[in-house]
Symmetry: C2
Subunit: 447 residues, 2 copies
Amino acid sequence: MNSKVSPLQKYSRAALAVLLGCALWETAQASEEFLSAKDSDPYRLGWMQGFPPKPEQLLKSADGSFFTFPGLRYSVSHMREFMPTTNVSRGIGAPSPLPKQQDDAIGELEFVPWNATEPMTIFDSLDANYTDGFLVLHNGKIVFEHYAGALAEDKKHAAMSVTKSFTGTLAAMLVAEGRLDEEALVTTYVPELKDSAFGDATVRQLMDMTTGLQYSEDYADPNAEVWEYSAAGSPWPKPDDYKGPEGYFEYLTQVKKHGEHGEAFGYKTINSDALGWVIARATNQSVDELLSEKIWRRLGMEQDAYYQVDSLGTPFAGGGLSAGLRDMGRFGELIRNQGQWQGEQIIPAAAIADIQQGGNPEDFAKAGYDKLTGWSYRNMWWVTHNANGAFAARGVHGQTIYIDPTANMVLVRFASHPVAANGANDPTSLPAYQAIADYLITQSTEE
Amino acid sequence: MNSKVSPLQKYSRAALAVLLGCALWETAQASEEFLSAKDSDPYRLGWMQGFPPKPEQLLKSADGSFFTFPGLRYSVSHMREFMPTTNVSRGIGAPSPLPKQQDDAIGELEFVPWNATEPMTIFDSLDANYTDGFLVLHNGKIVFEHYAGALAEDKKHAAMSVTKSFTGTLAAMLVAEGRLDEEALVTTYVPELKDSAFGDATVRQLMDMTTGLQYSEDYADPNAEVWEYSAAGSPWPKPDDYKGPEGYFEYLTQVKKHGEHGEAFGYKTINSDALGWVIARATNQSVDELLSEKIWRRLGMEQDAYYQVDSLGTPFAGGGLSAGLRDMGRFGELIRNQGQWQGEQIIPAAAIADIQQGGNPEDFAKAGYDKLTGWSYRNMWWVTHNANGAFAARGVHGQTIYIDPTANMVLVRFASHPVAANGANDPTSLPAYQAIADYLITQSTEE
C-alpha cells in the first residue's frame, strides 16, 4: 500500500475488499517476489489462530489488513467474519449430490504455459496459481476436485467479479422472460440515474459494459474515482466529516460520462452495480433474494451463499458473492445445459444462448486486452470465441467458472493469487483449461 | 435512548445489540405504551424495503437504530446484515426432518396470566409477547409451529442470552468428558485473567455465575461497566482516541471483584464470555467451531447457525447466536433425551443430568428474582424446580428453549418484545407453557 495516502484513501482502505473483486490492474506485478503457495498457506501462517490471535497473526477489516497478501489467503474463505453480509438461502431441503468419479490422470496432464518452453502439470499449476479450490465437471460428473488454502468442501470462498456473471445472468433471464427491456433506457427503471452518465445508457449497454464512464480504478492515483466509490460502498460507519455519497446506489447517481455509450467495451464494476439496481427495481427483489429464489433454491445447492453489503444493506452486485466450490459447479452445469437442471428449465434457453453467442469482438478489442485476442463480453460473461466456444466468469486473484461446451466441461477455480489482475495467472490457467478440455474430449470419444 | 450520553455511551450505541442479549433490566417498563405486535409488524412498517430503503425505513448499525423497537422486530431476524459474523456449519448432508403433526387445539388452550383474572388463549399470547416463532415438540414430534414478524421456517433469529445455555452445555459436556476440570481455577486455562476478578474463581463458579464481579448493566448510569464492555466488544473500528480494551477477552482481564465468589448467583454476561475463553483454551477450538463439530453437524440441522463476532473475530459466547426455530427445537430435543439423538450419545448423559438437577436455590434467591421463586441456575440454564422438573434457556426480548421432561415437551420461542427484560413477558409466557405441558400430559395418557 502506498505510504502517501489521501484521507479518503485512508478511510477507504477498510473497504478495499469491496473493490478488489472488480479491480482491473492493467499491469500484473508478476516480477514482484511473493511467498509461494506452500509458504503462504494460511494454516501454516496461523492467521486468526489462538484466543485471541497474536497481533502478528491478526487480520482486521478496519485497517484493511485482512485483504493484503498473504493474509488474503485466509480472508477469501472468511469474508463474513470481516463485514456484514446477507444470506442467499438454499432452502432447507436435501442437497442434490453431484456424482463423483475422480480421474487422477487429470492432475498429471501437461500443458505449456504462455511464454514458456517447458511443460507444466495441472497439479503444479494449482500451486503456481495459489489455488484454493479446483473442480472439474465432465458431463455433470465430478472428475477432479482439490482443496487447499483455507477452503474445504463445506466452506465458502469469495467469488470476486465472478459475481458479475451472476448479475448478468439474472438480467439475461429477466430479458428472456420479458420482465426487463434490454433496449430501454436505464432510467426507465431507475429515474434517480437521470443526471448521471447512465442517464442516456440502455440496459443492454450496462449488461455488456459498453457504457462511456469517467471512472478509474488506478490505485496509484489518489484522485481516481475508485476511492470515492470504495468509501461510498464501505459497510463501516462514515467519519463525522464525510461528505460523499453513502452506498453503491448514491454513488452511481454521481458518475460522470466519458466518451460515448455503445462504442467500446470498458470493464467497469459500476456497470454491474447499476444493473443490480435495475434488476431490483424491475423485480422488486434485490439480487440476493432473486438469486436465492431463481437459482439457489432450485439446484439442490449444498450450502447457502452470501453477499457482502454496504451500510444501507445493498448487496454488492459487482463482486460481493461468496459460495461453495461445488455449488459454483452446479451453477456452471446449469449454464452449460442451456438453463436446464435435472430436466427442469430453470433459466430460459434463450438467455443462455445469448450469453454463449457473445458480444462484439471489435468493441472488446478496443479495451486493449492484448492476451485475450478475439474475445468478447456479453451479459457480464467473458466469451473466448475459441474453437470449442468456451466462455467464462472471471474474478481477480484467479476466480473463475470456465465452461467448454464442446468438451462438456465445467471448471471452477477459487484462488488467492497475490496479484489481483488475472493477467498474472492466465498464462498458467487458460492453457491448462484447454489441456483438460482436450483430454476430456478424448475420454468422451473413447467411452 | 437517553439524550444526555457520554462519548463512550455514544460510541457504544453501535454495539448495543452485542449487549442486549445479556441485559438484566430489573424494571420491566411494562407501563410504557408500545405499538402492538400487529401494528409493529416489520413488513407492514417496511423496514429495509425499497432500493434503497427510504430514510425513515432504514435501520443502521452505526447509529444503533437497528436495535431499537420497533426496528428490532426486523433486525432480530437479520443480525448478520448489520455486523460481521462467523458460521456454525451444519455440514453438507441432508437434514433430518422433524416429524410434524400439528394439533390446532394447542392454540385454543386457555391459561390465566400472572396478576390477571381473565384467561387468555395460547394464540392470543403469541401476539401479546411479540412472538416471531413458536415451536412445540411432543415426544420429538412437532405439534405446534407458528411464524410471524420477520421470521420464517428457512430464516434465523437472534437467540440473545439463550446463547449462554449453549456455552454452558458445551462446558458441561467437556467436564463430563474429563476435558475440563470444573474445580480448577479459571487461570489454569486462561492465565491472562490472573489479575482480574476471575483470578481466584473456579470454572464451576463461572458455569453457575456465582462469581463476585463489579459489573453493572444499568443503562441509565453513564459509569456502568456495560458501556466499556460494549465498546470493547464492538465489531466496528475503534475511534482514534479510544484507549479502552479491544475485544471481549481484553475486557475480561480488567474486570474488578465485588464481593466473594461462590456465595450468590449474579446474572452477568461476562461469565459466559469468560467461559467461552476457557472452553477455547481447553479445546483449542472457539465456541463456534466446537458447537458446529459437537452439535450442529450431528443433529441433521436444517440450517447453519452463526455468531456475531468482535473486532478480533471472537464469537460472542454470552449472546451472539442466531439460528433457525426448528434447529433450536432439535437442540432442545437432544437435551430432553439425555444427550441422545437418534440412538447416538451426542452429549454425555451425566452432563445433562447435571444441568437438570439445577444449582443451589439459596444462591439463586439472593439475586432477587421475586417472580422466579425456588428457581436455580446451573451450567447457564435456568432450572424451575417445579413439579414437572422444567428447565429453560432464556434470552431478552422473549427468547426461550423451555424443556418439560414430565410432559416430554420442548418448546422454543423467538420473539421481539419491546421490553428487553423477560419480566415483561413472563406473566403471559410461563403459565402458557405450563398449560401446554398440562395438555400434552393429558394427550399422552389418552394415547
